[in-house]
Subunit: 375 residues, 2 copies
Amino acid sequence: MGAPGAFEPGEYAARLGRAQAAMATAGIGALLLTTEAEIRYFTGFLTRFWESPSRPWYLVVPATGAPVAVIPEIGAPLMARTGLADIRTWAAPDPADDGTALLAGALRDVVGAGRVGVPMGPETHLRMPLADFERLKARSGLRFGDDAGIVAGLRAIKSEAEIARIRDACAVAGRAFARVPEIAAPGVPLERVFRDFQRLLLEEGADWVPYLAGGAGPQGYADVISPAGPRRLAAGDVMMLDTGAMRGGYFCDFDRNFAIGTVSDAARRAHARLIAACEAGLVLARPGTRACEVFEAMAAVTGARAGRLGHGLGMQLTEGLSLCAGDETVLAPGMVITLEPWVTLGRGTGLVHEENIVIRDGAPEVLSPWGAPGL
Amino acid sequence: MGAPGAFEPGEYAARLGRAQAAMATAGIGALLLTTEAEIRYFTGFLTRFWESPSRPWYLVVPATGAPVAVIPEIGAPLMARTGLADIRTWAAPDPADDGTALLAGALRDVVGAGRVGVPMGPETHLRMPLADFERLKARSGLRFGDDAGIVAGLRAIKSEAEIARIRDACAVAGRAFARVPEIAAPGVPLERVFRDFQRLLLEEGADWVPYLAGGAGPQGYADVISPAGPRRLAAGDVMMLDTGAMRGGYFCDFDRNFAIGTVSDAARRAHARLIAACEAGLVLARPGTRACEVFEAMAAVTGARAGRLGHGLGMQLTEGLSLCAGDETVLAPGMVITLEPWVTLGRGTGLVHEENIVIRDGAPEVLSPWGAPGL
C-alpha cells in the first residue's frame, strides 16, 4: 500500500538522481528541506497536517543514497507508506529540544564534503523556528549555505505524471465554472457564491480548495486577492472567481468572469481585450522565449506598463517564473504557467482573466478550457 | 467600508497597546512580522492570497505609534481597508530587490533604541527568503533578535470577540458532524466522504475548510493526519473525521467518530474511555493549572505515557500550549484549547476524540457540542 496520492517510485528516483547530479556540481553534501512542497517533491508525503504550525518536519537529501526523514512521530505511519526506509522520529513538540539534536546527527551521518544546501532564494522560506536553525548550525558544526537553486530548478520542469494531475485539476475547475449560473444571480451575497462555488469544486472532484478569491462590480473589482463580503450581486456586475483547486496534490489556478444580468459594453470590450492578450501570450509561449518577452507581448495588448501577467504553477498555487518585465527565465518544455492579464476599467478597478498552459516542443498545450465560459 | 472579516478598530488598538508595553520592557524598538497570523493579528488583513508563496509581506510594529505595512502593491487596496495609514508598497515579485531596501528604510524610520524583535521561538517561522533576511540585516545596520515571545504571549489569550468567532466555527462543524449519516455508509469510498463532508461544512457556514483528516477501520486508524484514499467504508468500521473549519478567520478543531454499521464492543469501550479522558481534562482546565497537569489527568484515563493530548487554537489550527508532559504553561482565562486523547485499539491503530473549550474564571466554557454525536 503506497502513500495516498503518491506517484510511482520511479518518479521519485528520477527526481533524486537529478538533484544529486546537480548537488555534485554545486559542492553540496546534503540538502536540508523543511517545507511541504519540498518534502513532498522527494517523497510523495501528502498530508494537510502542514496546516498545523506546531511541529517542524525535516528531509535530508544526501549526495548519494536515499533521503532521510527526521520528523515528528505522529507522521511516521504515513511517511513509512512512501517507501522511505530511514525515518527518524521524536516526540514533537518537545519544549526541551524539538528535533534539532536528531537532525544534527542525521546531517552529520550523511554530509561528507561540501555544505548543507538550504533553499533560500525567491519564494522560499525556512519552515522551522529561526532559533532552532541557529541551534542546529551550532550543534552540527557543519557549513550551511544556499542550495544553488537546485530544488526550484527541478520543480520548474514538470513530468508527464505531474502535468496529468494539473490537467485533472483544471478539468475539475472547468466543470465547476460551467455550473456558476446555478449559484450566481442578482441579489445573492458574494460570500454565499464563494461557499457554493467551493461546493461545486468539491462535487466536480477537487480534493480540497486551498484558494478562492474574487470580486464583483459594474466596473470590475479593485483587487484579485480579497475574500468575499456580504454585498449582494447586482444586475450589471461583472463577477470574477479565481480558484486554486487541488487534485492529487497539484493545483489549477485560473479565473472566470461572469455577467450578472447584462454588463456594459465597456466591460465586454475589456474582457475581449483580456482574451486577446492571452492569445498574444500563447503565440509566444514556446521553448527558448524568455518570460519577459511573453509579458511584453501581453502588455502590448492590455496597455500594462508593469505588474505580473502570469506565473508558474504546480504543487503550489504560484511557483517559479513570473511573466513580468524583469524575469529573464527561458521557457522550456514541461513548464506549466498561467497567462493572467489585467485591464483597468473604472477608477481603481478592472478585470482579470487567467488561463493555464504547459510549454511543449512547438505549440503549448492548453490545460484550462480556453476562454470558456465567456463573459 | 472596513476590511472583510476585521474586528472593530478598538480590538487592534488594544493589541497594539499591549504589545508596545511588553516591547518597552523587553528593549525592543520594533517587531518585524512576516506571517499571515502575525500580520492579521495587528491589522485584520484577511486574505487567502497567502497560499501564494511568491511574495513576502511585512509588518513593522514600532515601539510607539501605528504599525507600518511594507507589502506588495497587489495588496494595497485590501490593506488600505484595514485603516492602516502607513502602507509602503513595491512591485513584487522584483528579482532585483524584493522589498528589502524598502523594509530596511521602514525599520530605520521607526527603530530608535532597542533591537528589531523577530518571532523565532516554538511554532514560528520567518516567511521570507533567508537570503533576503541576511540582505536586510546587512542593509539596515540594525540589531536583530528575538521578540521575547511577545506575539505568542498576546495571541494565547483570546478576546471575547475572538472567542465568539471560534464559537461560531465550532457550531458550524457541529451542525456538519450531525449530518454525517447523510454521506457515510458501507460501500462509500472514504475520499468521497471527505469531499462531501467539506461540502457539508460549507453549507453550514464555513468560509473555507483549511483542514480535514481522518481514517476508518474496524479497529480505528493508524494516524490522525492522513488524507483519504479510495478504500470503501465497510460495516464494522469506526470512521473518524477531524476538521479545522474557518469562520471569520478563526478555526475550530475537533473530530468525531462514527459507527459504520455496528462496531465492536471494544471500539465502543475505547470511545467511552476517550470521553472519560476529556471529562478528566475538563475538570482540571481552570486558571492556575499547568498544561502538563491536564495532560496527566487525561493520560491517567487513557494509559498514555507520552504524546500530545490537546493544544491551543485560534487563528491557526494549532497554536500555543501543548497538553503534554513537558509543557509547564499555566492556564489563564481566555485561552482556547482542545482536549484530544488517543487510545490504542488494534496493532498500531486506535481512536482519537477531540473537544474545544475556553478557559474561564471557574469552570471552562465548552465550545464544541460535547461528545455529540456519540459513537
